[in-house]
Symmetry: C2
Subunit: 404 residues, 2 copies
C-alpha cells in the first residue's frame, strides 16, 4: 500500500514509518519538525541521541535498500498538504501530526490555544484534502484513551448503546477529557465522524493508550535509526520517565496517590496496530473507533514494577508521591474495552520483566544525557498563568530538592 | 448586576442587551461588527434597516435615560478581552460573540476553519480571562440544540444517567452535531465543562433552539432600535425566511421532506432566559446546561402555519420541497427536554396565530428590501469546494427559477 505518515519524525511516527516500510509498503513521511522545536523551547532533549531525519532516512536505505519519501511542511498549510496528497496518492494516511503532550497544552493560554488550533485545523485540512483529492483514501487518525476520562462505567470502543426511557440508540461514547490537549482530540473525533457522515470518507480513530518503550526491530538495526525516548515532565510518558529516574537514582515521581489507572501499550504494538488498521480499511462513510492499548495499570503499580526491576539490577529505587499537578481522580473505576484490534490479529507484547529490564538498560546506557531537573512537574493544571521558566544547572537542581 | 454582552450588536445580542438594560442591569456591549461584515461578504442585508451601534445606543439613552457601554474589539484578541473584563468587572458575561450560521461554516474549507477557530479560541480566551481576572463571574454561554443532533432517544439537558453493564454514571449527553458550526459549539461545551472542573469557574451553557421574531418591548420603542431580521439562506432562520418568502409571493423553501424537527423559541423568550440564567448563577465549579427552547416543530409544520397565516391576509403561499442541501434525517424521532428554565420562571411566548401575523406584517412592511435571490440554498453540505459566488440581479433571479 501507499501510506503517508504525517508526523513521521516523532516518537510513534518514526517507529511506524520504518515498520510499514519494512513490511513492504511505500511510505512517505510528512513532518515540519515541530516536535524538535518544542525540545528547544522547553530546554529538554530525548534521552536517546536521535539523528536528523535525512540522516535517519539515508541509514534506512543503506540497511534495507528501501526508500522513504520526505515532504517537509506543516499540515496547517492546506496548499502544502493538498500538494502532498496529490503527489503521493495514498491508500492510507496515518495522522500523527499533532501536539501530543497534555502538560504542554496546560502551560498557559497561548499553549492551550496553539494546541487546539494546531490539532483541529490540521485535521480539518486533512479531511478537506481527502474529500477533494482522495475520497477513497483511508484516514488512520491517532486519538487518545484520554478522550474518555474515567467514567464510572465500562469504556466501550467509541460508541455505546444507550437505553433511555424505553428507547435505544447507539451513540458516541460521552467524552470527559482531562487537558486542553485531550480536548483537542475530542474535537477532532467529532469533526472526523461528521466528515465521514457527510462525505462518505473512511476513517479509523485509534484511541491510543500511553506508549512505552523505544526499541522496535527496525530502529534496532543501527544507532542512526534510534527512536526518541522522552523522560521530561512535559513530553515524557510515565513509564519511560520512571526508568530514567531509576537509572540516575532519582525517586520515581508518582503524582498524588498514584491510583490513576490508564491503558498502556508497547511501541511495538503501536506500529502493528497501525498496520492492522491500514490493511483493514473502514468502509466508505464509516468512522470506526478502536481502543489501542493492551494492558491497564495504575501509575503506582508501574512505579512498583520499576522498583522491583531496578532492585534486580542493583539499583536502589525510591518512590515519591508528589502533589498531583493535574486535576484528575486519584482512585477510580476503570475498565476499558480493547478487543477490536485483537480480533483483527494484534498479538500484544505485554509489559514483562524482560521488557522492563531492556527499558532500564537503555536508560542506563544513556544516563549521562539525563538532566534530573526535567523530572519535576512544573506545569500546574490549577494555575492559569503557568509561566514556565526553565532554570539551568544549579538553580534547577535546587528547585527539585526544594519540591521533594 | 453588571453584565457584559459579547456580540451585543447581533440578532440575539442586541435584544438581550436592551432587555437587561431595561431591567436595571449595568450593561456593556462588546462587539467587533463581524456580523455586519459577513453581510457585505455574502451580498445580503437584514430585512429591517438596522442602524449603526452608536446610533442605536444614543437612541436607547434618549428613550430610557439608560447608558450601555460599548467596547469595540475582537474576543480573539486576548489583551483586548482581558482589558474589558478588568474594566467592567462583570457579575456575568453573556457570550454571543461567535459565528452562528451552519451554512456559513459549510461554504468551504476556509469558512469551516474560520468558524471553528473563531468560536473555539474566543471561548478559550474568555475562560482564561475569567480565571485570571474574574474567577467568580458567571459565564452565560450560548450553545445550540443542534449540538445533540437527532438521537433516537429523548434528549436531556446536557447530561444523561447511563446504566451500563450493571454500573451507573451521569455523563455528558452524546453529541452528534450537523455542521462545522454546530461542531464548534460542541467543542466549546467540552472546553467550558473542563475549565469549570479544573478552575472552579461558574458556567451556564444554554443550548438554544432556533430563534424567530424580531420585535421585543425594547426594540419597539423606536425604529432606530429595530433588530435584525435575516431571511437569506445563510443567516436567515427558517421561520423568518418563510415569512419573508410569503410576503413577496415566493414559495416557502422546505428542505427535503420537511420532517426535520427542532426546538424553537421567540426572541422575547431568548432575552428572558438569559436574564433568568444571570439571576440564578451556577455554583463555583458547576457547568449547568439548559435547553433553551419552548416548542418543537418540523420545518414542514412551520411552512403550513405560515401558509395559513398568509391566507388570512390574502396572500397566496405555495410550499416548495427542494433537495435538502444539508445532510440530515428528514424524518426522525425528536423529544428534547426543556423544563429547567421553566422551573426558574420562564413563561413561554408560544408561536400563536397572532405572533405569526405580526411577523408577516414586518415582512410585508419592509418587503421592498427583499432580494428573492437570497432565498435559494447555495451552500451544499455534500460539496467540499462550495465556491459560493453571489450573482446579482438578473443572473441571480435566473439561478432561482432554474432551481425551482
Amino acid at each position: 500500500m501507499k501510506i503517508a505518515v504525517l508526523g513521521g519524525d516523532g516518537y510513534c511516527g518514526w517507529a511506524t514509518a520504518l515498520y510499514l516500510s519494512q513490511k513492504g509498503h511505500e511510505v512517505a513521511i510528512v513532518d515540519n519538525f515541530a516536535r524538535r522545536q518544542w525540545d528547544f523551547e522547553l530546554g529538554v532533549q530525548t534521552l536517546t541521541p536521535i539523528r536528523t531525519l535525512p540522516e535517519r532516512l539515508r541509514a534506512w536505505q543503506r540497511h534495507t535498500g528501501k526508500n522513504i519519501d520526505l515532504f517537509t511542511g506543516d499540515v496547517m498549510d492546506y496548499e502544502f498538504l493538498a500538494s502532498v496528497i496529490k503527489e503521493v496518492e495514498p491508500d492510507a494516511v496515518v495522522h500523527f501530526a499533532e501536539q501530543r503532550a497534555a502538560p504542554y497544552s496546560m502551560i498557559d493560554r497561548k499553549h492551550a490555544v496553539f494546541t487546539q488550533v494546531n490539532n483541529v485545523v490540521g485535521t480539518l485540512n486533512l479531511l478537506f484534502a481527502l474529500r477533494e483529492l482522495a475520497p477513497d483514501c483511508h484516514l488512520v487518525k491517532l486519538g487518545t484513551m484520554g478522550e474518555y476520562g474515567t467514567p464510572n462505567i465500562d469504556i466501550e470502543e467509541g460508541y455505546i448503546e444507550i437505553e433511555h426511557n424505553g428507547r435505544k440508540d447507539v451513540l458516541p461514547f460521552p467524552k470527559q477529557p482531562g487537558s486542553f490537549y485531550h480536548l483537542s482530540k475530542v474535537h477532532d473525533s467529532h469533526n472526523i465522524l461528521f466528515a465521514c457522515r457527510i462525505w462518505k470518507l473512511r476513517a479509523t480513530d485509534l484511541n491510543q493508550g500511553v506508549v512505552y518503550g523505544t526499541v522496535t526491530d527496525e530502529t534496532a538495526l543501527d544507532e542512526t535509526l534510534i527512536n526518541r525516548f522522552d523522560y521530561d515532565e512535559v513530553f515524557g510518558t510515565v513509564l519511560n520517565r520512571y526508568c530514567a529516574q531509576a537509572a540516575v537514582g532519582h525517586p520515581l515521581t508518582v503524582y498524588g496517590k498514584g491510583g490513576q489507572t490508564r491503558g498502556f501499550l508497547d511501541i511495538r504494538d503501536t506500529v502493528r496496530c497501525i498496520e492492522i488498521a491500514c490493511l483493514n480499511p473502514a468502509a466508505p462513510g464509516e468512522c470506526r473507533v478502536y481502543n489501542q492499548f493492551t494492558e491497564q495499570f495504575s501509575v503506582l503499580e508501574l512505579a512498583h514494577m520499576v522498583k522491583t526491576a531496578g532492585k534486580k539490577m542493583g539499583l536502589k529505587v525510591e518512590i515519591d508521591h508528589l502533589p498531583d499537578p493535574r486535576v484528575e481522580a486519584e482512585s477510580h473505576y476503570y475498565n476499558a474495552k480493547h478487543s477490536k484490534l485483537i480480533d483483527l490479529g494484534l498479538q500484544p507484547h505485554n509489559l514483562s520483566d524482560s521488557l522492563l529490564d531492556s527499558l532500564m538498560n537503555i536508560a542506563i546506557e544513556y544516563r549521562d544525557r539525563i538532566d534530573p531537573s526535567l523530572f519535576m512537574p512544573q506545569v500546574n493544571w490549577r494555575n492559569a498563568t503557568n509561566e514556565r521558566r526553565r532554570q539551568v544547572g544549579g538553580a534547577a537542581a535546587a528547585s527539585v530538592s526544594q519540591t521533594r
